[in-house]
Amino acid sequence: MNFRQTLTHGFWRDLPPFRLVLGLCPALAVTAAAENGLGMGLAVTFVLIFSNMFISLLRRVIPDKVRIASFIVVIATLVVLVELVMKAYFFPLSQQLGIYIPLIVVNCIILGRAEAFASRNPVHLSMADGLSVGLGFTMSLTLVGSIREILGAGTWFGLAVFSEGFEAFSFMVKAPGAFLCLGLMLGLMNAWSRRRGEIFIQT
């Protein structure tokens, strides 16, 4: 992949969590509101860019046997950093996201990109990959969050969308709504990519 492809592949070709079916847990858990989805996405993007950077820089130093352990330490450090910064500057959001911020550490996207990309590519490509996949993830989460918030609460980023007569489907902001919404969106994306003549990624 050249630089431009690396920079854009996360927006459609490897769009998480729809095309690259990783990171489903945060996509379900924090998307009850668009704002939470956006915040979570940006936190993941930050961790992804810098974990890719450090791992790419260290890729010749780290012995193969302790590869995964080293990756985990790097990722966990960045996650704790995000936790602290969020608490200091975005406290309400950090309360909303709760244990799902520390859980970024076990988000398969990050370890997956480290193993599949950053550990075998130079720094500038790895950072571009992190940015691209991270922003793709942010877009997806914000989209899912918007749909669920608009239907389930009648608001978008906290602003009222409908007039007062609207009765919200509170189902959408609860757990079953999350699964259903994500499943249907995945189906739509599959149908769309089939129309474009692309092969299915999931089995």
Binding site: P63, V66, V73, V74, T77, K87, A88, F91
Partner: protein
């Protein structure tokens, strides 16, 4: 073989110590700000409702009273050199979803309770979460904190929420911690406040 193991340990050790060092640095530089944010968003709303004053003003007057293993945050309201309001935070143990943190506001001149507010809880919505309701919390208003409180089932005056005995008990537990604190440390708290209000620097004791 041995050299390889040494290399593994060295690399992992270096990465771990670098990460620990950088985190410790960030943590110390952000600690004050995090505490301020916590006060503002977690305690601020409760204090505002208790005393009908802007949270910023009330949060500036904070004391921490250590008793054994616990440390109780105390806030106060000063009018013309006299303490007219005191708010004590306590973590009521035994709630269904963990501790229920409550803030009790009282008038120290006659020890009557102005009200109780929930700072944080993780009780079940629709059941234990009813501790937040005005109707339940109202039972605290006007109590005098010279003796421990109890639920009606235990011979006391507080009616438990039906179906949420654990949550109600946690509230009572928190209240009794405040009763004990006032009984044993009342003078100490008032002296601390007195020192602060005469000390122009604000005193960080």
């Amino acid at each position: 073989m041995l050299r390889e193991i040494a290399r593994l340990v060295l690399v992992l050790g270096t990465i771990c110590s670098l990460s620990a060092a950088s985190l410790a640095y960030v943590r110390t530089s952000l600690a004050d700000r995090i505490e301020m944010q916590e006060d503002f968003y977690v305690r601020g709303p409760a204090l505002e409702r208790l005393f009908q004053r802007p949270a910023q003003e009330l949060l500036a007057e904070k004391l921490t009273v250590p008793v054994g293993e616990e440390a109780y945050p105390v806030f106060y309201l000063l009018e013309a050199g006299e303490v007219t309001g005191l708010a004590v935070e306590a973590a009521g143990k035994g709630g269904y979803g963990g501790n229920i943190v409550i803030m009790i506001g009282l008038d120290p001149r006659n020890d009557s309770v102005l009200g109780v507010e929930i700072v944080s809880h993780s009780e079940t919505p629709g059941l234990g979460a009813k501790v937040e309701l005005q109707g339940f919390r109202q039972q605290w208003t006007g109590l005098t904190l010279d003796c421990p409180v109890a639920l009606t089932g235990d011979g006391g005056r507080i009616d438990a929420i039906s179906g949420a005995t654990y949550s109600s008990e946690a509230m009572v537990d928190g209240t009794n911690q405040v009763v004990l604190l006032l009984r044993n440390h009342r003078e100490e708290i008032l002296t601390l406040i007195g020192q602060r209000s005469t000390d122009p620097s604000g005193g960080e004791s």
